[in-house]
Symmetry: C2
Subunit: 412 residues, 2 copies
Amino acid sequence: MLPNKVKGNDVSTTATTPQVLRLANLKAVLSVMRANGAVTGTDLIAATGLTRATAIAVCDDLAARGWVRELPGERLVGTTKGRPARRFEFNPAAGCVLGMDVGMATATVLVADLKGRTLARVSERFEKPPASAASRRATIKQVVARALAEAGLPPSVVLAAAIGVSTVVDRHGKVAAGHELSEHFDIGLQTEVFADYGWPVLLENDANLAALAERWSGVGTGVDDLAVMLAGERLGTGLIESGRLLHGCNGGAGEVGTLELVDGVGSQDGIARLARYWGNEALAADKPTLIRELVGPGTNRVSARFVFEAAARGDEVAQGILDRIGLRMARVIAVLGTFFNPELVVIGGAVAASASALLPTITRELPRLTATPPRVAVSEFGDAIVAAGAVRLALDYVEEHAMELAPADAPA
Amino acid sequence: MLPNKVKGNDVSTTATTPQVLRLANLKAVLSVMRANGAVTGTDLIAATGLTRATAIAVCDDLAARGWVRELPGERLVGTTKGRPARRFEFNPAAGCVLGMDVGMATATVLVADLKGRTLARVSERFEKPPASAASRRATIKQVVARALAEAGLPPSVVLAAAIGVSTVVDRHGKVAAGHELSEHFDIGLQTEVFADYGWPVLLENDANLAALAERWSGVGTGVDDLAVMLAGERLGTGLIESGRLLHGCNGGAGEVGTLELVDGVGSQDGIARLARYWGNEALAADKPTLIRELVGPGTNRVSARFVFEAAARGDEVAQGILDRIGLRMARVIAVLGTFFNPELVVIGGAVAASASALLPTITRELPRLTATPPRVAVSEFGDAIVAAGAVRLALDYVEEHAMELAPADAPA
DNA sequence: AACATAAATTTAGACGCTAAATAAAAGGAG
DNA sequence: CTCCTTTTATTTAGCGTCTAAATTTATGTT
């Protein structure tokens, strides 16, 4: 048998020439391993339809490339007889990904291994607006450097990075020109900021990433038709239909910018902003409310937190405000439910935890507003939802392009 | 060389054993042929990346199955030297498809060949509502029989049938239960009506089919992010994002049922209905208008046609009605444009031709209502838009499942 | 008639897999 | 402890599908 034109493994001992395996099979096996934990040859036969010979050959190939590692021979529970199966698992240390949330005020970076487990998390505020593009770039670079240092990893092991920005991004990852906020984010994130590292850098709208995060491991896990609303300051919606993110021709899908047209909504103000606004209004009108005490004597600045807390303690003015907010959200969700017919609408963002106080109002009102009321839930991600979605996007990229990328600890 | 386990072609003359070809390659070549006209081996090499040997083998195989036919040896223009290339083309007579529009009042059937060319078209009205399910079934069967007779084709050559219905249909082709109109259409179209023929019968929402039609060969040809509004009696919207139809979890995506929430719209009434309604209102108010003359002395029933005609002739009352309708449509389109960000919105249905009178108003108002105004156009399909879309859906099915179907004139 | 050209056809063999035979690594029975 | 059973890994032969290269064929040109 003549040796094939294949790299490495030329140690002509007993070793027969390794097969050249079809890319699709490598990907399929890798995908099975990422979905499950440790995997045996028999598992792969069931999952992929390949022969045992091929399945194991694929595992050996992936292990040689560094994507997969073989576990020492502990038996799987349950099996007792027969030759012990070799066990392989996806190597989460084959690299890492970066998930970033670059907002108006703050940049957040998550470093995650290839199983999506967080290795480090760092946030930093930008200089007070208006920060120059150069200043924003510098801050972003710095946060990334700190996060990698905290994870104890060199930049070379980063296989992909994804960035969530609160402006319109089309399906090719380009910041759509001409939008209100685009100049704050179209600062060469892909071309300049990370050019030195040579990482693939993906850009996406923050609400879209929030949707990816929820479908990945949040309350929307496994839901194929899903809407996620970032509802803190500005309403923004990420839409997943049949498991795929919607963008529209310029990336504007889900931008609820013209909500002025919707009765009883009138703007794209989010929950926190409305709570502040109406809280201040109540104070200005000298209504008797706990909010005043929570704000304290020195200042007049109501923060959303105080309104929610006052309402929780039974304050009627605050509860009235939450009712108003709930009604408004119900209307927005009703429109979403009618137009997109999602199975589930998730309210996310920093305000999500508080937003659970709005759920009774929302679920009560929804059936009156639409014939197809979706389930409504509140995200449990907190303010890392966008960065978590960015991690998911980067992981998707790595999975898709695995065979073109070089794992961190690839042998030779 | 041992003969393979392959059907037919056992005439052991010079004929070498035919190759068994990969399904994906058969499909790829078939797809190229459907897209282009006559095709040579060299064309296929360029289009598919296969070798000439394989490409021609695929053609011979497809020809033997009946999907493709070889053209007699006229040279293609331009080439002058060398051995003449064999030329193959997709065989449009390998079968036919049915595209149906089953509405409340009328059933329309198109018979089309596999290139999508119409071979016959028949419409028939149902018994006056409420027609029983049995009566509706009988009418539908009858229209189909007449259409096939008109095309001169037996039922056996039908490879697939698609039906557009004006109710909610999910992405698996099931009529969603519990909807206003569902009982008129959930009459066993797939299970009973055509059970005898053994055709694959696909069900889809009428507006969705309209969208397929426009993207196939209408004003939306090739547009990847497209909304089509059926705007005659009831507003219904078909949405295509990134080239794919949107359904939502129950098929309700694009149902504008809760438009009550949208300022200045208030219902899902379509253009024709509004024209009638406001036309009657004007007559009742005794306004001086040409509409009265067009309606005639005997009756008081305004039809939409009269309003459009009066407006075209300069009647101010009628023009005022069209303005109101235009404003309303602009608002609906603005909401669509904001939520979906389509490149183009097409107004379709029987009323489409008249609707071009509304375009100036709509395009004038849109930029005020949304930051992302889509292009707006009027369909040129007339009232066959749904049936045409059904043809397209059936063709897609045939293309997808070609290798599982038996062409009409398959040899032996 | 001889040549040039572009395509078809034939042939050998490469590639990536499967199927079947064989070997290995364990537990259990005697 | 040895033998048997079970379960898996490994090896081997070879099959199906394609490519690459050589050969042939059909045409136009000189």
